[in-house]
């Protein structure tokens, strides 16, 4: 009998830690691509909790995994468009740092 890996709380705690790390990165990093990487970390944390619920709660068997697969598809779309936007902005402003994107403030 597993003491840790057999309980839902362990997976949810890991998911919460990863989500907090990702939110810190999104709020604090200056590089736009680092912010996108932090978003991917947060999406992965949500996926982990969805799969954990699907594995442990009887009413959600199968649904958590299906939800996670849909989240992965949406994350792929988000990464495609987000990185294309970053590259398009970089072509104009010559910097990937978001605190220098101040054209709408001037």
């Amino acid at each position: 009998m597993s003491m840790i890996a057999g309980h839902l709380e362990a997976y949810l705690a890991l998911s919460a830690i990863l989500f907090a790390i990702g939110s810190f990165g999104f709020l604090a990093r200056r590089n736009a691509i680092s912010m996108l990487m932090s978003i991917e970390l947060m999406l992965n944390a949500v996926n982990l909790s969805a799969i954990a619920f699907g594995a442990f709660v009887p009413a959600l068997v199968g649904q958590g995994t299906a939800f996670a697969l849909l989240v992965i598809a949406v994350a792929a779309a988000e990464a495609t468009v987000g990185l294309a936007i970053v590259i398009a902005i970089y072509r104009n402003r010559r910097t990937p740092l978001v605190d220098e994107y101040d054209a709408m403030r001037q």
Partner: protein
């Protein structure tokens, strides 16, 4: 000779040891992504974090999501991110200062978020978990039954969304031709 039920001299079961190793690798990779200075190493640490999470999905019995994680995240999104890093990294602007000025409030906000999640986690009675001890041996068939049953509309919409994202990504990332600028302005 069968393996002993627990690891000798430590007392952890094998599943626990695997979970701790993979979870620690995921957290360490995530911390390096967020705190590291060299952005291309951040991208590589992101791949390590994704791989560790795929292992955890296998522990949870969701092998199809682990496969999708390896194919989509490690295979596609990470390569996309690495290419974007290589395209946008300029020697002229080394990122001496990694964090914004709001890094301290961001750290506080993230810590508060983590504590809130931990409190909610500890205060909830997870009595509905009948699979105490072992994660569900759900396998792939229940996943596909859900995906092609109640989630069928979402599945189809996701495919349309990916098509739209591909077209939008091509449109956004193509370099504008020199002669097209006036036409673009008129069109706006």
């Amino acid at each position: 000779m069968p393996l002993p039920g627990t690891i000798p001299f430590i007392g952890l079961t094998w599943a626990d040891a695997l979970f701790l190793m993979l979870g620690g690798a995921a957290i360490a990779g995530a911390l390096f992504v967020v705190l590291g200075r060299d952005i291309i190493r951040n991208g590589l640490a992101l791949i390590a974090s994704f791989g560790a999470l795929a292992g955890i999905y296998v522990i949870l019995g969701a092998a199809i999501v682990a496969g999708a994680q390896v194919l989509v995240y490690i295979g596609a999104i990470s390569v996309l991110i690495l290419f974007a890093i290589m395209l946008t990294q300029s020697k002229a602007a080394p990122t001496q200062l990694v964090f914004q000025a709001q890094a301290a409030p961001a750290a506080i906000a993230s810590a508060v978020l983590g504590v809130l999640l931990a409190l909610a986690l500890g205060a909830t009675q997870w009595g509905a978990t009948v699979f105490e001890g072992t994660p569900a041996p759900a396998g792939t068939s229940s996943t596909t039954a859900a995906l092609f049953g109640p989630y069928l509309l979402a599945f189809e919409i996701a495919s349309v969304l990916i098509l739209a994202a591909v077209i939008g990504g091509i449109y956004l990332a193509t370099a504008p031709k020199p002669g097209d600028d006036e036409g673009d302005e008129v069109a706006r």
